[in-house]
């Protein structure tokens, strides 16, 4: 797996081989898009825009990648940074327009519109971006805790706390949805 990534990276860096880069995108797009979909609390369109930005950034900075390191760790770190940059940009725009800047998640209207499709996506809106990232990296991407600590740039203990607290919040959010749902469905 790592060898295949290393060979593709060498082709991209030395020969600007676009088909090798396409192969890298194919191999890792599910992980990146899953992480971003959850960071964006279910907003797939937003997640895909950021995923595209992530791969563009990866292409431009691939030459700086230390090949002794694990590629996925570096890739998820770039992904998380792209999301943080996007959040900071949005916050700056919101404060410029005089709108409340306390949004780490989509607005309730957008959340209702986009997230209603999926209970888990809705529940993810209730937890912090760092918790979303830690949970997604641990479960969907299968990263070990030390690797997650590198991606999120935080101590190992913090990762464990983020995962435990995030799971507890998700459990509560999902439980409250299941208790509310029958009433919603019985409405005319």
């Amino acid at each position: 797996m790592r060898d295949a990534d290393a060979a593709l990276i060498a082709l991209v860096v030395h020969d600007d081989d676009r088909s090798a880069f396409a192969a890298l995108v194919n191999r890792h797009q599910v992980g990146v898009r899953t992480l971003l979909t959850r960071l964006c609390a279910g907003d797939r369109a937003q997640a895909d825009d950021l995923a595209q930005e992530t791969f563009l950034r990866v292409y431009r900075r691939l030459i700086t990648f230390d090949r002794r390191a694990r590629f996925t760790t570096w890739l998820y770190r770039v992904t998380y940074n792209v999301f943080l940059d996007h959040t900071a940009r949005r916050r700056a725009e919101s404060s410029g327009e005089g709108v409340s800047s306390s949004q780490d998640t989509p607005s309730p209207a957008l959340a209702d519109q986009v997230l209603a499709r999926h209970d888990l996506a809705r529940a993810f809106a209730a937890i912090t971006p760092a918790e979303r990232a830690a949970l997604t990296l641990a479960y969907a991407a299968g990263c070990a805790h030390p690797e997650i600590a590198q991606v999120l740039d935080c101590p190992l203990g913090t990762v464990k706390t983020l995962i435990a607290r995030g799971k507890e919040k998700l459990r509560q959010a999902l439980a409250s949805q299941t208790t509310r749902q029958p009433r919603t469905e019985s409405m005319p």
Partner: protein, 99 residues
């Protein structure tokens, strides 16, 4: 909800690999760089090509010498050897440059 119910939900990917996404990423990349071959990588090719050319010419001299009936002369034999080396050098030069 317990861990047994929650863990599979968390482990499931949100998307599947999509060729259209890959194409969109490729379309957003900057224009391709022109072929950047380091100068040193041209040296085996250039050296072998020039050496090969010289050797083929001396090989030609050897054929000429043979036609004149001077096979016994050392320079004719040497030129024939150079010609043979020239053929080999030209044949392996592209491979040496790509190595």
């Amino acid at each position: 909800m317990n861990d047994r119910d929650l863990d599979p939900l968390l482990s499931a990917p949100e998307t599947r690999a999509d060729a259209r996404f890959t194409l969109a990423v490729l379309a957003s990349l900057p224009p391709a760089r022109t072929a950047r071959r380091p100068a040193w990588r041209w040296m085996p090719l250039m050296g072998a090509a020039i050496g090969g050319l010289v050797c083929v010419l001396t090989g030609g001299l050897a054929v000429f010498g043979a036609a004149e009936g001077s096979w016994t002369q050392p320079w004719t034999a040497l030129a024939a050897l150079c010609g043979a080396l020239g053929v080999v050098a030209v044949a392996v030069a592209p491979g040496a440059a790509d190595a």
